[in-house]
């Protein structure tokens, strides 16, 4: 028997648990030369704002250790171009398309949804209320649970489409934001967006990115992301999409074990756009070896019953 990779995020069903994270796969088509979307559970687009945003001053990226700091500042084509030029072509992208939405005000989010409601080839929205690289809105929204709830509620009223709220880890208690998103009517929560981070060039005594601080992502954030997913899993009932530092099939299992129903891969795609396909192959193999019929069976199965669980010696 072939094990199942399918997963469910409430009303959104995906063929496998691996989605691409916003900002790391363009609007859906850009990687088509080198990777086939048929291997993806879904694509979350670059965040779309009501109008075109140009983004922050360069430099916008700094590699640090095995992580990345970015300060793109949500440079994107804007909702109108997305709707008229890009969305129609997404028909040929064979996977679920989730449009990420960004804004400076709650009205902005409503505006984008209103613009996109009658666009085709969209399977849902992810509300990016967690970007650390914009002066207004962004991360500040998901740092405040009452704004989170209000924002999700207002978007919820405008659409029947699936909605996820994407949360920032730069908070004291992420589960409060997750509960607020749930109360607001979100179908799922996505976490984590990037951590506020900084890199300095000691020679010139300058910040390595122009905005001084930026968003930290990649393998170093994985332990933090896992802890956040676990915290949220113990607080909400809606499904969780785990994000942060995923580069291997084992990472995917870890996120699912602590409670994620699906995951998103971000930074690692720049290095290997074919990573989702490779990971899914290995997941199938693992499920076969372990005789697990469906990957969904492992969601939230962390064993917490063994206080003295000495790992070594084998």
């Amino acid at each position: 028997m072939h094990p199942e990779l399918k997963t469910k995020l409430g009303s959104l069903h995906t063929r496998n648990p691996i989605l691409t994270a916003s900002g790391c796969y363009g609007y859906g088509e850009e990687y088509s030369d080198v990777a086939d979307a048929v291997h993806l559970g879904g694509i979350v687009t670059k965040s779309i704002s009501p109008v075109r945003w140009y983004g922050n001053s360069p430099p916008r990226l700094a590699e640090t250790g095995t992580g990345l700091i970015n300060s793109i500042g949500l440079a994107n084509v804007g909702a109108d171009s997305f709707k008229t030029e890009i969305a129609p072509r997404l028909k040929s992208v064979n996977t679920k398309i989730i449009v990420s939405i960004a804004g400076k005000t709650i009205d902005d989010y409503e505006l984008v949804v209103q613009k996109l409601e009658d666009a085709n080839n969209i399977d849902g929205y992810e509300l990016n209320i967690s970007c650390p690289n914009v002066k207004e809105g962004g991360m500040a929204f998901s740092q405040n649970p009452s704004i989170t709830e209000k924002l999700v509620k207002r978007v919820r009223k405008l659409t029947k489409r699936w909605i996820a709220a994407k949360l920032t880890p730069n908070v004291t208690k992420i589960s409060e934001g997750a509960l607020a998103a749930e109360a607001g009517g979100a179908d799922a929560v996505s976490l984590i967006n990037t951590l506020v981070g900084m890199a300095v060039d000691y020679r010139s005594r300058s910040p390595k990115i122009a905005t001084i601080t930026g968003g930290y992502s990649g393998p170093p954030v994985k332990p933090i992301a896992l802890a956040k997913v676990w915290e949220v899993y113990n607080a909400v009932k809606i499904p969780i999409i785990g994000i942060g530092g995923i580069t291997t099939w084992q990472d995917v299992l870890e996120f699912m074990i602590v409670g994620a129903s699906a995951v998103q891969i971000g930074t690692a795609l720049f290095t290997d756009p074919q990573l989702p396909e490779k990971i899914n192959k290995r997941l199938i193999q693992y499920l076969e070896e372990e005789e697990i019929g469906a990957i969904c069976e492992i969601i939230g199965t962390l064993r917490t019953d063994r206080p003295y669980n000495l790992g070594v010696p084998g």
């Binding site: 900002g23 790391c24 796969y25 363009g26 850009e30 990687y31 030369d33 080198v34 670059k46 140009y54 983004g55 001053s57 360069p58 430099p59 916008r60 990226l61 700094a62 590699e63 095995t66 992580g67 990345l68 970015n70 793109i72 440079a75 010139s204 300058s206 990649g218 393998p219 580069t247 930074t267 690692a268 795609l269 720049f270 290095t271 290997d272 756009p273 074919q274």
Partner: protein, 268 residues
């Protein structure tokens, strides 16, 4: 069309202290590339280093392409250890190449240090196309020439060096000015293009010289920290002088830009 190709290492050797040259077999990339484009390569199979590294496509001979790089950090260091027969994961060809006008008669190629590789590719292509082409290279000293003395191309390059006695002493901009002035005097300037790749200092100097000449075109190649290398992440933006379109992407709109569109960074 872009490809991810596991290109076989044909040869990987040190040219000088810290400067390496590698020939790779990649029919897909060789057959689809033009001078000025680059590859974004993975130095190993892990995610440490995290990102791919961009390197200009150097000379292309048949199905083989050359990369030449200076070791500056862990990525370029690991790459220097790749053995013959191993494979290197290349994403490419990427970016916009140097543009070659149909009216082009004379080409002046100005390299600063490690800016040489894309210009050796361009040089061979232009020579083959019958364009009168001059390749100039400015280096600090003998140790920073990114080409072996024994390379057949070596003799064709006019090298200036800021230190040392072996080459014309001075900045590469001096022979550039000489050549341009000659061309202006003999009326050829209108069918001449200038192509350059090198550090900001060189670009700045060219920005001072070129506007006074009526060249067919003048293009330079830029570098910027990259994420994706293909126009997705918006990470490699550089500012333009145009407020209505304030940024361009080195990986997609460049790395080759018209010299007059390039904005010099505040810090340099």
């Amino acid at each position: 069309m872009k490809f991810i190709d596991n290109a076989r290492v044909i040869r990987n050797h040190k040219i000088r202290q810290d400067i390496h040259s590698m020939w790779l077999e990649s029919p897909l990339i060789c057959q689809n590339s033009s001078p000025g484009q680059f590859v974004h390569l993975r130095v190993n199979n892990s995610f440490s280093p995290l990102l791919r590294r961009p390197l200009s496509i150097g000379r292309v001979h048949g199905n083989e392409l050359e990369l030449v790089w200076r070791i500056v950090g862990k990525g370029t260091e690991i790459l220097a250890e790749a053995k013959e027969g191993e494979s290197v994961d290349l994403l490419g060809p990427l970016g916009k190449p140097y543009s070659i006008s149909e009216h082009l008669e004379t080409a002046i190629l100005v390299a600063g240090g490690l800016g040489l590789p894309p210009l050796t590719y361009l040089y061979e292509k232009l020579i083959a196309a019958g364009v009168k082409t001059q390749l100039l290279l400015g280096v600090l000293n003998e140790n920073s020439i990114p080409l072996s003395d024994k390379d057949p191309l070596f003799g064709s390059i006019l090298i200036t060096s800021e230190e040392g006695e072996l080459f014309r002493r001075g900045l590469v901009t001096e022979p550039v000015i000489d050549s341009l002035q000659n061309l202006e005097n003999n009326g050829g300037i209108g069918k001449t293009s200038l192509y350059s790749c090198g550090p900001w200092g060189l670009i700045k100097a060219l920005k001072k010289i070129v506007p006074h000449m009526k060249l067919l075109s003048a293009e330079v190649s830029l570098e910027q920290q990259m994420g994706c290398g293909i126009g997705i992440c918006q990470g490699c933006a550089v500012p333009t002088e145009d407020d209505n379109d304030p940024f361009q992407l080195v990986c997609k709109d460049g790395p080759v830009f018209p010299l007059n569109e390039v904005r010099i960074p505040d810090a340099s």
